[in-house]
Symmetry: C3
């Protein structure tokens, strides 16, 4: 692997991604061959906000590789978050353990952590920014359920404006050939322009559709997400529209026989319980693929023999990131690092927010 840390799924080349997907498959087929693959290794799960399922998936993955796990699951229980900088915590934990999975409510935290950790860091979610192991879960599921990652018509339904898992899945699937995205949402919650740019620049196409029922017959894959009540333009809008984006048995009548329904979970009511018994529902088995995906990722990262110590990084600009949810807002010692994108625009290397100079 080129990159020591996985902050964004884009840290993996298409080739590396394919290797990990294949390894996940291989582990799923022959788990006992991997039961001691990480024996003696320790994973730290540093969860600065609770996310029980993600944490259980990481823990199970490490345990099924024969490794062990330490960590914390809640800042309230943890003295770590009190009066100690992220830098100090990560430096210490990176000295204790072999690999770190970090989740934090602020954007850019995993990137910041990776700058101080001798152990490889996996981003287990940094606010609304990135959650690469969810996308890895999604593509491992698609590869297993469809046999390939090319040539699919993939419906994405729900809040496509704010959904980080949706954006990440589109970016990743755009690297493969000939996929078509069907974007199912309200106009207010459509995918942002930069995601459309990604699709336009790729081998893939997309179309926008205002309702689930309209999209259904053409889909090979349906990726459901939730629209939060407060995301609708108004309460009247919500009452009028809410059913349009709920998957139920009736809407499934016009679906293909080999449709695969995915969901990042937890679901609330955007998929009715009766759909669970439909054999096209894959959102529960998807979590099992997620476990294999994380096993493959951890094993690959621990197999990386590059032991170069973390180099000190220096300010690139004397500018503050303008994103109030960026980790640089609370961790003041972090170097101010930006990427220039023409004119007077900078992109923060932590949270990827755009800041005007």
């Amino acid at each position: 692997m080129k990159s020591k840390h996985i902050i964004d799924l884009e840290d993996l080349s298409a080739n590396e991604l394919t290797e990990i997907i294949k390894l996940a498959n291989e582990i799923k087929e022959r788990p006992s061959d991997y039961a001691e693959a990480c024996k003696g290794k320790i994973l730290a799960t540093l969860f600065y906000e609770p996310s029980t399922r993600t944490q259980m998936s990481f823990k199970t993955a490490m345990l099924r590789l024969g490794g062990s796990v330490i960590g914390f699951d809640n800042p309230q229980n943890s003295s770590v978050s009190k009066g100690e900088s992220l830098k100090d915590t990560i430096t210490v934990v990176g000295g204790y353990t072999d690999i770190i999975a970090i989740r934090h409510p602020l954007e850019g935290t995993a990137k910041a952590a990776s700058m101080y950790s001798d152990a490889p860091v996996i981003n287990a979610g940094d606010g609304g920014h990135l959650h690469p192991t969810q996308t890895l879960t999604d593509v491992v599921t698609l590869y297993n359920e469809k046999g390939s990652l090319d040539g699919m018509t993939i419906g994405l339904c729900g809040d496509l404006k704010n959904g980080r898992t949706v954006h990440s899945l589109i970016k990743t699937m755009s690297h493969f050939r000939n996929n078509r995205f069907v974007l199912i949402s309200t106009p207010e919650l459509a995918v942002p322009q930069y995601i459309k740019d990604v699709m336009n620049a790729s081998d893939c196409t997309y179309l926008e559709v205002p309702s689930l029922i309209e999209a259904m017959p053409m889909l090979d894959v349906l990726y459901m997400t939730r629209i939060q009540r407060e995301r609708f333009a108004s309460e009247e809008e919500y009452e009028k529209e809410k059913g349009v984006f709920v998957l139920d048995k009736e809407k499934l009548l016009s679906a293909k026989r080999d449709l695969k329904i995915l969901h990042p979970l937890p679901r609330v009511d955007e998929i009715t319980v009766e759909v669970d018994d439909d054999e096209r529902a894959k959102y529960f088995i998807q979590t099992v693929y997620g476990m294999y995906a994380r096993m493959a990722l951890i094993k690959t990262m621990l197999g990386n023999t590059d032991k170069t110590p973390t180099a000190r990084i220096f300010d690139t600009h004397n500018v503050q990131c303008s994103n109030p949810r960026c980790i640089t807002k609370t961790e003041k010692y972090l170097p101010k690092i930006f990427r220039e994108v023409g004119g007077d625009m900078l992109i923060c290397k932590y949270c990827e927010n755009r800041t005007l100079i």
Copy 2:
């Protein structure tokens, strides 16, 4: 084992129960023979209410079998309980792990969980309803300390009306031969009629006695439990009566030399600290037997080769259970399943509460 899950100790036949008791003994005698018996297996401890000792007992049991453990210990720390149904949580965790121990404040939760779990489920306490591994602990202790489960005079002292461990122990010991129960309580806190029915229908007898001191000389076993202050008929009653059900050194003067004193723990003040030094006090070693009991149970359940996937269950009646603490009150999607008991009475298959049609 006939039953895949252990919701009630009655899920085990007398023969299966005896096998597990013997296995617990065997593990106790030769622990190193079992140190890798569950290697590579994962136990999930899903504790929707804190019960540190029960959780530590399950964890230790699994670790001493060479397995490992994931889980949570408190709904407040856990995102699982927020906005996610029990069904979804259990389905996901059942996909990650090999066996689940669940504790929940609502009655019938373990039964509900077992309906959605491919992994075997152990009830680690569902509200005031059942706690089968405590009873298993009790009978393993009795078998070890007395050499048999027949022909004993067993005193049960405290709140016999509400104490689920007392009811369960009486039911289980009634399957063995020639036991005599001495029920030591206030009239208001006597055992319910259906428990008396169980004893009457069995090979066993019982008598009711109003004070510990009166019962003491006849007992082979004394099973102490606590009476909560608010359970007494009045504050005056409490002040007058409280000492009557407290075990102290003085009351032990008339006890048999080989009496065995048990308590499910934690104790508050119903056994004075000085009794701890009496060699008839077995309530601490009882927790060690509990660890071996859970090891035997887990090993037996994981050895079950029946891998039939969980079948969908349908409503038997169109009726709501009337018990406000039943899991069906909060998890609305659960099928309404009842057992008919003559006339117009239904018994809820989750919480065993009686509901009039």
Copy 3:
């Protein structure tokens, strides 16, 4: 080892301490030789107050020895602390596990716990009283970084009055030859007389210095600790003095080239972040030594073949300890045990507080 439990580092003879330091080194050099040294053994980490780093250090130590860990990290999540005596909890956990590390806000708790535990007990911090594994960490660090524990000039900076790690380090280093302590503090926060007595009675000398800058050129080791704002005599005093005890790059200009900077962590602002990049900063690697120190301690304690059961201890005096933070204040059943120190003075054997008869 003479002592079964480690409540105070003084429970180890100088010889035993040296053996553990050497073992820590040996484990650091050849970790794989020790990867299964405690296989099948279970450590309980009973943390009645959160201390995530100390707990992670203990857990990692046990896992890297091939053992496993159970425990709790917060009284709020734990039913153990509710309505159950320390005695009962320890007796039960001592029956489940092979070794216990306990942390508690009240002084003397580890001593009290050791009286009821068949498993060896390690004090992981009892209020402001003792924290022996921190001192063990410090001396393992010094031994590794300096090659010996003799003949050093050791600066100790910060709150020397209240800092338990400072007192313990002075006591331990006073057992070695020819060390010189440079005590850097305000007059109000100077080391207490009894610590001066320890140095005076030893082979070591000390001097008191009012500022870091003055002490710097003579130091081989600088042990930094924090002065809490509220410890200063007044707010004006704080504003005037605070910079005097902060280590920054400038103050390091006059330091020796082979100075070693230690800190028990977490640091707040008493060492500026820029110092982290100075190669004399050893406070992060110190935590790694701490892990090896705990591995050596755990392995040594588990190797102790003395299985004498815990003997009952009786009151030595009919007196209450006068320390309001002593564990005997809340756990009333604890025997009242004191050491007489001439005249009418008693020293509590739990918290070491002096009480007048």
